[in-house]
Amino acid sequence: MNIQSCITIINEWDIVAARQLGRNVAKELGFGTVDQARITTAISELARNIYLYAGKGQICIDKLSEGGKAGLQIKAVDSGPGIREIRQVMEDGFSTSGGLGAGLPGVKRLMDEFYIDSTPGQGTQIKATKWLR
């Protein structure tokens, strides 16, 4: 059973809307305040990447349930320039050294599961999931 809702990211206000959506769903699912803050930080980070590098994209928040476990999945999809060196952007310290925020490794740490796929010239798709403990 999946319930999905999405926010289109075009400008900085949309980042706030995506956070709000994520927080509402997280609260509904029963995540504590610390995890809510982590989930919204991850959403912010992914939405910012879309806003800064792809120009336009979507953040979708899914409720997941799997084997009695409930979880929240953030899906970030854009059709921007894509990432040529995925390994490099997943390296600690690579994108954060200039103070650009948590970077993708940060998102990966904030969440329980992380999946990325990107094709140069076609766009990037990221899925990050947090399970309710």
Binding site: T33, A37, G106
Partner: protein
Amino acid sequence: MDFREMMESKYRDILHHYIKEQSEQALYAGQKFSRKSIEHKVAPEEIISLHKSLLLEMYPELPKDIIHSFDILLEVMVGYGIAYREHQSLRHQQEELRSEMEIASNVQQTLLGTSIPTVPGFDIGAISVPAKHMNGDYFHFVLDENDNISVAIADVIGKGIPAALCMSMIKYAMDSLPENRLDPSSVLENLNRVVEQNVDPSMFITMFYGMFNPSNNIFYYASAGHEPGFYYDSKKKEFSELVARGLLLGVDKRTKYSQYEKEIFPGDMIILMSDGVTECRTEEGFIEKETLIGYINKYIHLNAQEIVNNIFRELEKLQHFQLRDDFTLIILKKDV
């Protein structure tokens, strides 16, 4: 009670204690608590959340505004939490690199290993210590079938891994030189060609190559821009520089090297070194040649290996145990 509950109750106690009497003791307990929570990888935002929930529990009538303010603090600390975890992971990576370097340095020692030959009538001592893990200095001895003793000492300009990689190549170039006796000048000319062809143009190598012929007691030598060594005249008890001219290896493949000779008498010494010896830097600047000669004189009654070991120890002390460059010192002493 699991760790979280224990932590919660501990924090509650500290908080109670401090709110009651604002003592240094409670603050100290707080510091100890942070050490424990860092050890257990508790993120900063979790502490904020704990603090907030304890306040709510202790003061149910606390103004909502104050409670809300913690949400901002929590949000801000999530960022610090990420930075902290990233730092932890980078530290772990650094640890891995360090152990990899240690393995590399062991491999290098095996690759570049040379044994100091025992030759009747000669006493030889050598020491080579890298400034970091990997050594950009190199020395090599060969004893051929006619009992000629050859000695090579080389220094790559630069240090660390690039210098060390480059040195391994020199070692194999030397090993592949023809077995039969070779003049120092032709050895350098051969190596120069190898270096010129195979090494990055920005990398240069200095080398001193010497060969002692026991049948006529003459030491033949040539230098490719290497730090000049010393000759010790035991009769006059005097040191003089072993002057030799020659371009660094790898600059020009047509370089020719002049060969020099020196007759060696019983008790005389040849002292060879890398610039890590003469460029030992103290607070007053580089050490003077006289300082080095002073140390040699101080230990001159010892055998060659003990002399070089003692000089290294003295110069290490002078530099407060921080080597700035790789250090290599060789002494060949003709028995009386």
